[in-house]
């Protein structure tokens, strides 16, 4: 790692101030950033830890029936205390391994937007609102291609609000070596219709599968997806799965999610 200074503020306002310094970077749980620093792929002059800001940790349920999660809340806490939205708690409880879950955070996961990460699929499938120290961003406007987001330099995800669906399920096909999703699909049913978020599939990162949403809004059954296919063009391909395989897997995981959600 290159050398850097370290600050651990206790309020969002102080963190924002610290992040206004040249080449400052936020540190969430460090589960992605520390390995990146070790590889010298990042060179911040100051790291601003978000781990000691009480107003950024914890979970509550809003009057508008959303699960509101502080941006620095670790996955393990969502898994344990997110019972008001069981499918989201289940998603959090299957990220990586137990030690990744005690430190990795929802804000870090969304800010990083790894093309195989789990939370981005949930953000799209719920139509979540990402709240930062300066504004509110709809999930549909947040993700911007692999590892890209709408966040400005130094902007902090302080909270994420996930509208609680009537029925939902996240189905992750594990990539056992990395423990990320090889491909994962989240299906959420609301009074207004069904939303489907897909991760670990497209070269453009997480996306909503509009055809499946239309079919499932019409009939919430796995059979509604019969005959629907995704084009392999533009899908991720690696030694673990070719683009055609991933395209196929999206339908399989979407059907499993519908079946699980419907029970």
């Amino acid at each position: 790692m290159y050398a850097f200074d370290f600050e651990r503020p206790s309020t969002i306002a102080d963190a924002a101030k610290a992040l206004a310094q040249d080449d400052a970077q936020a540190l969430g749980g460090g589960q992605t950033l520390i390995p990146t620093l070790k590889q010298r792929l990042a060179m911040p002059t100051v790291l601003v830890s978000l781990s000691s800001i009480p107003e950024m940790r914890g979970i509550c349920r809003s009057d508008a029936n959303a699960l509101c999660i502080g941006g620095a809340t670790p996955h393990a806490v969502v898994a344990r205390d997110g019972g008001a939205f069981p499918a989201l708690a289940d998603l959090a409880g299957h990220i990586g391994d137990p030690a990744v879950r005690t430190r990795g955070t929802v804000g870090g996961s969304l800010a990083n937007n790894d093309p195989a990460a789990c939370y981005p699929a949930a953000a799209l499938a719920t139509g979540a609102t990402i709240i930062t120290n300066t504004r509110q961003i709809a999930a549909d406007d947040f993700f911007d291609g692999m590892f890209g987001t709408a966040l400005e330099e130094g902007e902090i995800i302080t909270e994420v609000q996930f509208p609680i669906p009537q029925a939902a399920s996240y189905q992750k096909f594990n990539q056992p070596a990395s423990r990320f999703a090889l491909t994962g699909v989240m299906v959420c049913r609301y009074a207004s219709g069904v939303r489907v978020g897909v991760t670990g599939a497209s070269e453009d990162g997480v996306f909503r599968w509009a055809e499946a949403e239309a079919a499932l809004s019409n009939s919430f059954a796995a059979s509604a997806l019969d005959g629907l296919t995704l084009d392999a063009e533009g899908m991720l391909g690696d030694i673990h799965g070719a683009p055609q395989y991933r395209a196929h897997l999206v339908t399989v995981m979407a059907k499993r999610a519908v079946e699980e959600a419907a029970t």
Binding site: A3, F6, L27, I34, K38, L47, D97, A99, T102
Partner: protein, 160 residues
């Protein structure tokens, strides 16, 4: 350089660290607690697991400054007060849950967390919890057996 204070296995200690110093480096190089192993240094293997304020953490993927003021427990703090092996450690010995022993400190720290959260896990739950712990020797079966035994469950049918 900055000074950090931690409680390590019940005793207070301090160390001089840089921003980039890892908790694993403080433990191994600073405090000479070399029972915490470094297998991969890339967050994959779990050999470096410790407890920070009672929570399982990869010490190779945590900055020392993040542990300032924390209570840290390592494998050196897992034996009984009289120096005899703790229950989980003893179960690893009884059930041949280790060969070279490189992964063992991390396995013991993970197993301790698991049994605290879930005192009577099923075999499947033990395997799932150890997802982040690699072992190159045992093939895992005897590790699973040892943890099931440490939880007071019958292991005659486990890990077959």
């Amino acid at each position: 350089m900055a000074q950090i204070s931690i409680t390590i296995n019940g005793k207070s200690a301090s160390a001089e660290v840089e921003g980039r110093t890892l908790l694993s480096e403080v433990l191994r190089d600073g405090l000479r607690l070399t029972g915490t192993h470094i297998g991969c240094d890339t967050s994959q293997c779990g050999a470096c697991l410790v407890h920070v304020n009672g929570q399982l953490a990869k010490s190779c993927t945590m900055l020392a400054l993040e542990a300032d003021g924390a209570e840290v427990r390592t494998i050196e703090g897992m034996a009984n007060d009289d120096g005899s092996l703790g229950d989980i450690q003893q179960a690893f010995q009884d059930h041949h849950g280790l060969q070279c022993g490189f992964c063992t400190p991390g396995m013991i720290m993970a197993a301790t967390s698991l049994l605290r959260e879930n005192p009577k896990p099923t075999e499947a739950e033990v395997r799932a919890y150890l997802e982040g712990n690699m072992c190159r020797c045992t093939g895992y079966h005897n590790i699973i057996k040892a943890i099931m035994a440490a939880s007071g469950q019958d292991v005659t049918l486990a890990a077959h």
